[in-house]
């Protein structure tokens, strides 16, 4: 079998050997003992490393990266977006911040019926849900040690002074050019997409960031920025009002926990993709994948089938716990439920997509109170539930990871849904189009029916992996419907197939999601692997390898000797950055 263990680390820089004062180093892959930031854009990673060098902790750096990404990747995230972060602090605290967007009060099925279909409002101001990024930053500041104006400074500098447009920026801009020409022509370069190498500035966003840095994040939800958005919405027939902004709250809660072969995993709970990562790994734990290899068709088949089962359950049962009476999340991630689910995998053939929604949706609710699979299965036949709508899943979003020298870790994923969101820009930032993640029509019992104040369900899953109480990996990925599969495959690659982090990320990825009726894969698997998958009855759709479609994970590995290895997203030309020397003041301190 083809091996990925033979890949050479490219551009690895061993920072301890580089005595450069008061600077940070940026590279695609980096090693350091001084702290590490990985992000989808090297300039954003650099912004975080600069904060670490100033003595900031991992949360400080994460806030700086979040803001900087909104400048250098305006198409993937920003103030008009949302997300989720998981922090595992060196003092043992574990915190998740849910800053998912919420549907505004006017976003009802009644109003939608007057406006058209959900897909028709997707690239209009109506497609916007109330943004959570500024509020998330506000909550994260409670764990930070530096003031917001210091943390916002790199982002403001980038927006004011400009930066060189990357290949990814240019490509995404070309892909969404038509919508931008229609909705935000002033973003374009004389009506044309920005080309790689050109200098992009965003003075309007710089002004907005400066307002937030000076007045705090409340300026976004109640001050002049809220007035500005309200005016834009009223003028352009949107649904969000200042009152929606004033009502918005980010939510702090503990991450949910799971395990895989002795590794402890901290992920965000519903309505995002964390529970599905755990549910899938629970199933995979029953198969001895370490006896196989990354390109063994049987391993791919097992993983694919497991991921389909968990995505079917996710689609049927999981949603916003704040606005649904009950979400059977505990049952969904229980080890006993996984035992029942693993029995549905036929090792000799692929499941038929035609039967997925009628015959393969499970009933995790039966495991909510720690029930054993033997009892559940003896008592009742598996319940089949019909629900077949799939969601459009663009390869947008962005993820970054931070670890500081003291061992605080942050996994943070943020998004504006589609690249450039609705395509509408207000005060220099793009408005998300998360509304498209709700059901287009009400379905009885669905946890993602459109409801004012509800957070839509998405697939993002920033996570932190530890072993025996020690940090091991911090990771996450963009990639919409491929986020779960890409993260699961990276974890299996490092844990079962013993790959280095770089190789685990670089190795070809395949989808595993019920929205796709075939295995979508990066075309670097051996021909015999593909042939065997076809033999098992899978349909195969090939993509180039590597392809941005499969996400852009930015991850950090923490070794026992304290060495941090940062791997910037290979599929998105991301970067890793680290301070060149230990900060003057001790990092990692955060207020109690």
């Amino acid at each position: 079998m083809k091996r990925y263990n033979s890949w050479l680390l490219i551009a690895v820089i061993w920072l301890a050997a580089l005595p450069v004062a008061m600077a940070v180093t940026v590279a695609p892959i980096l090693q350091s003992k001084q702290g590490m930031v990985t992000a989808a854009h090297p300039l954003a990673a650099q912004a975080g490393a600069e904060i670490l060098e100033k003595g900031g902790n991992a949360v400080d750096a994460a806030i700086a990266v979040s803001l900087a990404l909104g400048v250098v990747e305006p198409y993937a995230s920003g103030l008009g977006g949302e997300g989720y972060m998981v922090a595992v602090m060196a003092d043992g605290r574990e915190i998740a911040i849910d800053f998912r967007s919420t549907a505004p009060a006017l976003a009802t099925y009644e109003n939608l019926a007057k406006a058209g279909k959900l897909s028709e409002v997707r690239y209009t101001p109506k497609g916007y849900c109330v943004a959570g990024v500024p509020a998330g930053i506000g909550k994260a500041l409670e764990l930070a040690s530096l003031p917001l104006d210091v943390l916002a400074a790199p982002a403001i500098r980038l927006a004011e002074e400009g930066f060189e447009v990357s290949e990814t920026f240019s490509k995404v801009n070309m892909d969404r050019w038509e919508i931008l020409l229609e909705n935000a022509p002033r973003f374009l370069n004389d009506d044309m997409p920005w080309a790689a190498g050109e200098t992009f500035k965003n003075p309007s966003l710089a002004k907005t960031l400066r307002t937030i840095a000076e007045q705090g994040v409340d300026a976004f939800y109640g001050g002049e920025l809220a007035d500005s958005l309200d005016q834009f919405m009223q003028k352009n027939d949107g649904w969000t009002r200042k009152s929606d902004l004033q009502a918005y709250r980010a939510i702090t809660k503990p991450p949910i926990k799971g395990s895989y072969r002795g590794y402890e995993i901290s992920v965000p709970g519903s309505p995002v993709g964390g529970p599905r990562i755990l549910a899938t790994l629970n199933i995979l734990e029953h198969f001895n994948l370490a006896m196989m290899s990354w390109d063994d068709p049987l391993a791919i088949h097992i993983m694919q089938e497991a991921m389909i089962l968990t995505s079917l359950d996710q689609r049927r049962w999981l949603g916003d716990p704040e606005t649904n009476d009950h979400i059977p999340e505990k049952g969904y991630i229980s080890k006993d439920y996984a035992r029942q689910r693993m029995m549905r995998i036929d090792l000799s053939k692929a499941s038929d997509p035609a039967s997925w929604y009628t015959d393969r949706v499970g009933d995790p609710g039966a495991y909510e109170n720690g029930e054993k699979y033997v009892d559940v299965m003896l008592e009742a036949r598996q319940k089949a539930v019909i629900e077949g709508q799939t969601q459009d899943t663009p390869p947008s979003t962005t993820h970054f990871s931070v670890v500081d020298k003291a061992g605080n870790a942050v996994a943070w994923t943020q998004t504006i849904s589609s690249f450039f969101g609705t395509g509408n820009m207000v005060d220099g930032y793009f408005l998300n189009n998360e509304l498209g993640n709700f059901k287009s029509e009400p379905v009885e019992g669905s946890p993602i029916n459109l409801e004012p104040g509800r957070r839509p369900r998405t697939t993002i899953a920033p996570l932190v992996v530890s072993k025996d109480g020690k940090l091991r990996w911090v990771l996450g990925s963009p990639g919409a419907g491929r986020i779960g599969s890409t993260i699961i495959e990276i974890l299996v690659n490092v844990i079962d197939f013993d790959m280095s982090l770089e190789n685990a990320i670089r190795a070809p990825k395949f989808s595993g999601y019920d929205a796709y009726k075939e295995i979508q894969l990066e075309d670097d698997f051996p021909p015999k692997t593909i042939e065997f998958l076809l033999e098992l009855g899978h349909k195969v759709k090939r993509y180039e390898h590597p392809d941005l479609y499969f996400g852009g994970p930015n991850a950090i590995e923490i070794n026992d000797d304290g060495v941090l290895t940062g791997v910037g997203s290979i599929r998105r030309l991301g970067g890793a950055a680290a301070p060149d020397q230990s900060p003057d003041q001790s990092p990692g301190q955060s207020p109690e």
């Binding site: 290949e167 240019s170 070309m174 050019w177 038509e178 370069n189 044309m192 997409p193 080309a195």
Partner: protein, 183 residues
Amino acid sequence: MKNRLIQNILSGLMLMVFSTAGMAADVVLTPFGQSPDAMMVRVVLKKLGVEGRLEKILQADGLQDEKVLVTVVAGSSKGLGEAGIDKDAEIARMKSVAEAAKAKGMNVLVMHIGGKGRRGTLTDLFIEAAIPMADKLIVVEGGDYDGLFTKLVEGTNLEILPAKSVRETSAPLQQVLTEWGIL
């Protein structure tokens, strides 16, 4: 008398407008690979005062009295899917359109405007099919990062007219269209 004067002025203005519009009918655009890039070229042409007719799935019998066929190469799986055609059908379509255009005495301009980001297996397939059709070739920087275009034009009379960005394709476009008597 006064009315006649106004009428004459208006007629003159109309003539000027229609002479510009007459030029517009001189260029027809179609994507090769169903990416939206051809629409960008249409905007660049508009800034040059040329109103190109854009037809996404132009067929040989859809050619009118244009003098120039502009085809913008970039493969888009999404675009092909929306158009309901596969890559082989797309190549066959373009070959047939280019042959018909040549038979009508039209000039064929091939453009690749997406740089390195718009290269890949699918696009490369279309590029290889497009080069033999070209009377002129404009490539935006990065598109020839691996020398594919250079290799394909070797031994032909075709030269690569470079541009730094889509926006800056206006210069070679102006040069080509002037040479062909459109501008």
